[in-house]
């Protein structure tokens, strides 16, 4: 326990009463906020997978139209100052933005789980070192670092952006997961597994992780939200690949061409709105998970003491 006082300690969450899988799904279905978030995510997923279904423009980056057209039936959101169809750019941009959110969120979560749970389970010096590493990364201001890293790693290709987001996004989760794993360590069911003579790897994978599902999912959603917003910010600043198809890149070109000042505000507003919607979707599902993990926050039921 070297340096746990860095953040406010995560609220002592009651270990999830839900089993992995079915329980989670039931919980999501029973919560309107979670449902709204899940629906938005589903829509974006479909658009990302089959952009061709939503627009007839195949190459949204090509300047095939008159510049600065107002919205019409031919161009639902008008055209850019460079003569591209804004709506089709939006549709084709969904994929990269969603991939960044999901992949960076997932990798950061995996890293959090590995570091957090091994710190709690190894204990001793290993715990001290891993916790120290976590806390150092947690404290170093992330966004400036992300900017500096992205700039130097070369005009941010997708891989660079993903790597940068994962490197800066795992520490918060690691801290939380370590705290929960520590509190689980001496529970009876683990003791009994140890007495049965199960291997440590079995205990961690099959006994510990399932009980931590809700916190892990919450961490994934948080990391995905962080990734969506940071990636959009990075690309907006021009630190992404300017030729990529994504909402952040659209925002960059819109800003570059002064979309707000030159009568094509939708060029800025629409991709920003999509980033916002995707972020909101993750936040809503996450908020619902908070309610699930911490019964005190549920709308109706009163808090039960202890756990």
């Amino acid at each position: 326990m070297t340096t746990t006082a860095i953040t406010a300690p995560p609220p002592e969450k009651a270990p999830a009463r839900t089993r992995a899988g079915g329980g989670l799904w039931r919980a999501v279905r029973g919560n309107r906020k979670a449902m709204a978030g899940a629906v938005i995510l589903l829509v974006f997923t479909v658009v990302a997978a089959f952009p061709g279904l939503f627009t007839s423009v195949d190459h949204p980056d090509e300047a095939n139209f008159a510049p600065r057209l107002a919205p019409s039936t031919a161009h639902l959101l008008g055209t850019t100052a460079l003569g591209q169809d804004i709506y089709s750019q939006l549709v084709y941009g969904t994929r990269e933005s969603l991939v960044i959110a999901v992949v960076a969120g997932a990798l950061a979560t995996v890293l959090s789980v590995i570091v957090g749970v091994s710190a709690a389970y190894l204990g001793g010096l290993a715990d001290d070192l891993l916790s120290l590493l976590t806390n150092v990364v947690l404290v170093i201001p992330a966004f400036p670092l992300v900017i500096i890293l992205a700039k130097y790693a070369g005009k941010g290709s997708l891989t660079v952006i993903l790597a940068v987001l994962v490197l800066t996004g795992w520490s918060y989760g690691a801290n939380q997961l370590r705290a929960q794993a520590l509190s689980l360590r001496n529970r009876d069911f683990l003791e009994s597994a140890r007495v049965r003579g199960e291997r440590r790897s079995y205990i961690i994978v099959c006994e510990v992780l399932p009980t931590m599902t809700s916190l892990i999912v919450a961490n994934f959603l948080g990391a995905a939200l962080y990734s969506v917003l940071s990636a959009a910010g990075l690309q907006f600043l021009g630190l992404g690949d300017p030729n990529s198809q994504s909402w952040g890149t659209m925002l960059y070109w819109a800003q570059n061409q002064q979309a707000l000042q030159t009568g094509t505000p939708l060029w800025s507003i629409a991709p920003g709105l999509c980033v916002a919607l995707l972020g909101v979707a993750f936040a809503l599902v996450n908020y619902a998970f908070d309610e699930i993990g911490n019964p005190a926050l549920r709308p109706v039921r009163r808090r039960r003491k202890g756990a």
């Binding site: 860095i6 404290v139 170093i140 936040a283 005190a296 709308p299």
Partner: protein, 329 residues
């Protein structure tokens, strides 16, 4: 005491890690300041001349990396931060930072405090009136606002209050440059009107977090025995709400507040970029765009130190305020 010393050790280690990252990232990655300068001067000045000029500012690419590293660490601590080798070629870094810092501290600092104060108040009332109108409406709204990309909120505000109203509120810079700076009503008014939109952007996107955490803390605290006892004693509800519940519910938030004060000087890069607000964040953006090592290094060190100082202050305050933490020390 041991606790504080240990925290001090962590402080130094983190600072060292940040400084080291800061030193090695640019050197291990492609792109160097001479190339960047060649591009910026469009080849009108010869490469050799540029390199010589940079060397006179303290840029030594051929020197042993270990020597450079040790020199760099020393310079960071002595405040000998060198001269800019970016857009503002030759300006002392300390002067650039000194010029930008007050603007960021004023804008982001004041807004952060306001967001915390109002967020905490609203959260207290919302948690207290559990299930009331406020509690039903606010949390979902603020879950949404805190997930918005804040630079985009800034763009929207510019569109509505600056473009849409024919320039009601300025969308650029920190004050009207036609006014001579000084303590005149015109200048102060200009500074304030230029701060309205960026401050509103920050407020909208950060206040939700405080409301939600305070509300959740309140709810947890309200179930505690001492609150029940206060109720049983028949104390007035105002007294219970502020004196018993809110007073304890705010404690975990204080640490978060200190953290966010630490992030003040680095936290608003995108806002300063959107509003062309000449603060520290905008300075970092320019430094990165122009491969300005000395400026970047000094800024990044400053960001890290600010967070560490805030954390250390929290630790000391906790030990001082909370006897339980003192006993554990």
């Amino acid at each position: 005491m041991r606790f504080i010393l240990r925290r001090l050790g962590f402080f130094l280690l983190t600072l060292w890690a940040a400084l080291t990252l800061n030193f090695f990232i640019p050197r291990f990655m492609p792109g160097d300041p001479v190339d960047a300068l060649v591009v910026r001067t469009r080849g009108r000045v010869s490469r050799d001349a540029l390199e010589q000029m940079l060397t006179s500012f303290g840029f030594k690419p051929d020197q042993n990396v270990a020597v450079q590293y040790v020199d760099y660490l020393g310079h960071m601590f002595t405040g000998n931060w060198g001269r800019s080798i970016g857009q503002t070629l030759g300006e002392p870094v300390t002067k650039l930072i000194g010029g930008a810092l007050p603007w960021t501290l004023g804008l982001v600092g004041i807004t952060t405090v306001l967001a915390f104060v109002f967020g905490t108040l609203i959260g207290t009332v919302s948690g207290w009136r559990r299930g009331g109108a406020l509690d039903a409406i606010l949390p979902p709204i603020f879950v949404i606002t805190s997930a918005l990309p804040y630079f985009w909120v800034g763009l929207l505000l510019i569109l509505v209050f600056s473009q849409g109203t024919g320039g009601w509120l300025p969308a650029n810079f920190n004050y009207d440059t036609t006014i001579v700076p000084g303590f005149s009503p015109g200048f102060v008014g200009s500074v304030l009107s230029h701060a309205v939109l960026p401050a509103a952007t920050l407020l909208i996107t950060t206040i939700g977090g405080w409301i939600l955490t305070m509300r959740n803390n309140m709810i947890t605290t309200l179930a505690e025995d001492y609150v029940r006892m206060a109720r049983a004693k028949g104390l007035g509800s105002r007294r219970i709400m502020y004196g018993y519940a809110a007073r304890n519910a705010i404690l975990p938030n204080l640490a978060g507040f200190a953290m966010s004060l630490g992030f003040v000087i680095s936290g608003a890069i995108l806002i300063e970029y959107v509003f062309n607000y000449p603060g520290i964040g905008y300075l970092l953006y320019n430094a990165v765009q122009n491969v300005d090592y000395p400026l970047m290094q000094a800024l990044f060190m400053l960001f890290t130190v600010a967070v560490l100082v805030a954390l250390l202050a929290v630790d000391i305050a906790t030990v001082w305020l909370d006897p339980r933490a003192r006993a554990k020390g």
